[in-house]
């Protein structure tokens, strides 16, 4: 941190020589080292099925509950073992990973979009707009998401669009709150007043100046929201409310392996591990992005 401060101090000195801003090295490397494994995971999940290296998909009742290769009784034919229907755990992990990642990305987008817009309006225009929105945010955050999910899914049945609706409803409030707070800070900066003085319209100020200044926060928020969406989906699938067969996600794999834990722990363990690693990486990346976001451009 002290390194960053020192850096920004020199750039404000009498005659900054560097024509291009150098990114603070430490922050960039941490972002890099967190983004890399995520890219590798994404690549594995999307590329592996195409290569044909994976054990075949499909049920095989002659070889159910086979242990992973590294345990006695396991074979390299099924590196991570098989489940109770004889499906290969690795193959299923990879194919359902695609859906899980897709849900994470889209789920984050549907929460971020309205959340950021609503928070921006509340933070910039204040007044009754802000009051109404703040009450809505508080109300939303007071509701347990499981209740909302149950209410909607019992009504509409579970499908992907319904899942995204649930993710949007449960995610927008947190995004709106953070965006509102950041907007409050940005709107007090003097350049906003300067823009009013040159007669810039409110729409221009909000979308051309306030929003870009929120970009770093939004990227970080979005990253964190990907993790949340994956967790919410896993929880819902675990309860049988999320992804339903024949589609599978890591959450639903976890659910189906649950009752086998004592005899075949690997069925639930590997999807659980996958969720943990993915969400952990995504959240660490989000945090790194948040601290990385212009530490030098924002003065004090």
């Amino acid at each position: 941190m002290s390194r960053l401060e020192l850096d920004s101090r020199t750039s404000k000195g009498e005659a900054p020589k560097a024509p291009k801003a150098r990114k603070p090295r430490r922050a960039r490397t941490s972002v890099f080292w967190l983004a890399m494994p995520l890219l590798v995971i994404a690549a594995l999940v999307f590329v592996l099925p195409v290569t044909g290296l994976l054990p075949e998909e499909g049920q095989d009742l002659t070889r159910t509950r086979q242990p992973p290769a590294f345990l006695s009784g396991g074979t390299w034919e099924h590196p991570l073992g098989t489940d109770k229907r004889g499906q290969d755990v690795l193959t299923e992990l990879v194919t359902s990973g695609r859906l899980t990642i897709m849900i994470g990305l889209v789920g984050a987008l549907v929460a971020i979009g309205p959340g950021v817009l609503i928070g921006l309006l509340a933070g910039y225009f204040r007044g009754w707009v802000d009051k109404v929105i703040s009450i809505l945010i508080d109300a939303q955050l007071a509701l347990p998401f499981i209740l909302i999910a149950l209410a909607i899914i019992s009504n509409r049945g579970s499908s992907l669009p319904v899942l995204f609706l649930v993710l949007a409803l449960t995610g927008w409030a947190a995004c709106a709150r953070v965006t509102r707070a950041t907007t409050l800070a940005v709107r007090e900066r003097q350049f906003i007043l300067g823009l009013r003085a040159v007669g810039a319209s409110e729409a221009r100020i909000v979308f051309r100046h306030v929003l870009p200044n929120l970009a770093g926060t939004i990227v970080a928020l979005g990253t964190l929201q990907v993790g949340t969406a994956i967790l919410v989906e896993s929880a819902l699938s675990f309860l049988g409310l999320g992804v339903v067969p024949p589609k599978a996600s890591w959450g639903s794999m976890l659910a189906s392996g649950q009752d086998e834990l004592s005899q075949a722990w690997w069925i639930a363990f590997f999807p659980g591990l996958a969720i943990t690693v993915l969400v952990l990486l995504v959240n660490l990346l989000g945090d790194a992005l948040l601290t990385h976001h212009d530490p030098r451009k924002r003065r004090r």
Partner: protein
């Protein structure tokens, strides 16, 4: 004395070499700004019945200690800040009488240079794209000079056009701010503590630039400052503010050499020994 307080700047105050015009650029009459404390409901009068008049090309200063309502006055007077009472006329138009749209147009006649030069530039915009945006807002008004020429006017190298605010020094950033104000060819420049955020070494340069800009464009200037030396270097008339009221006004020389009000005397005595005398 009472008469002088009411009318703001006295007749015959130094008139810059601008366009001679009868209509004052800015006329503030009985301005009141109140802040209400939300929890206690207490009302605080930041500005309490101030009258001020700035003619074309004139340069007036508002001086006073921190919290005396200088900045609040300037913001309210230009229609950018809140106002609880009183009349404000910009170039002969009452702010109450004109619509929003017209107000926005009128505001372009008034440009502000703030205290914190970095804070008054969007950190996501390079100097060039910031200027481009201003030009987009007012094509005809800003067509009189190109970017490089504009930067030269404020004695900056055109190389700085592609820099972002954090890559500029404080003095450079303030020059960019002055250039942006200059581009709009305003009739009134409001400078709110323009040198307080700068190193002492560049303060004098920026002041010199402000004075030069004023003289070459004929724009009127309202300077907000607590630094009497700054005021004396740039302004013709001075208004001394205390607790939201103007306690004394008059030509700079008169106010500073033979202050009539006790508070002004205190203010002068509080100045580090003779620093303001040394200038000019």
């Amino acid at each position: 004395m009472a008469e002088m307080l009411k009318r703001g700047s006295p007749a015959g105050a130094g008139r810059g070499p601008g366009i001679p015009e009868d209509v004052p650029v800015l006329a503030v009459d009985g301005l009141v700004v109140e802040h209400r404390n939300r929890t206690t409901g207490e009302v605080f009068r930041a500005v309490d019945g101030v009258c001020l008049r700035i003619g074309a090309g004139e340069s007036a200063a508002v001086v006073g200690e921190s919290g005396s309502g200088k900045t609040t006055l300037a913001m309210a007077a230009t229609g950018l800040g809140p106002r609880s009472g009183g009349e404000i006329e910009l170039l002969g138009h009452s702010l109450d009488a004109i619509g929003r749209r017209r107000l926005r147009e009128l505001r372009r006649e008034v440009q502000i240079v703030f205290q914190d030069p970095h804070g008054s530039l969007d950190s996501r915009q390079s100097v060039r794209s910031g200027l481009r945006e201003l030009r987009g807002l007012q094509r005809e008004r800003t067509a009189w000079i190109d970017d490089a020429g504009l930067l030269e006017r404020v004695r900056l190298s055109p190389d700085l056009l592609d820099r972002y605010p954090h890559q500029l020094s404080g003095g450079q950033a303030q020059r960019v701010c002055i250039a942006r104000a200059l581009l709009m060819r305003p009739r009134l420049i409001v400078a709110d503590e323009p040198t307080s955020g700068l190193d002492v070494s560049v303060q004098a340069d920026v002041l010199e630039l402000l004075r030069e800009v004023r003289e070459s464009t004929g724009a009127a200037m309202l300077m907000i400052s607590h630094d009497l030396a700054v005021v004396r270097a740039v302004c013709d008339t001075a208004h001394v503010m205390r607790h939201g009221r103007v306690v004394e006004s008059g030509p700079c020389e008169t106010v500073f050499t033979s202050p009539a009000d006790d508070y002004t005397r205190e203010l002068l005595a509080a100045m580090p020994g003779g620093r303001w005398r040394a200038r000019r």
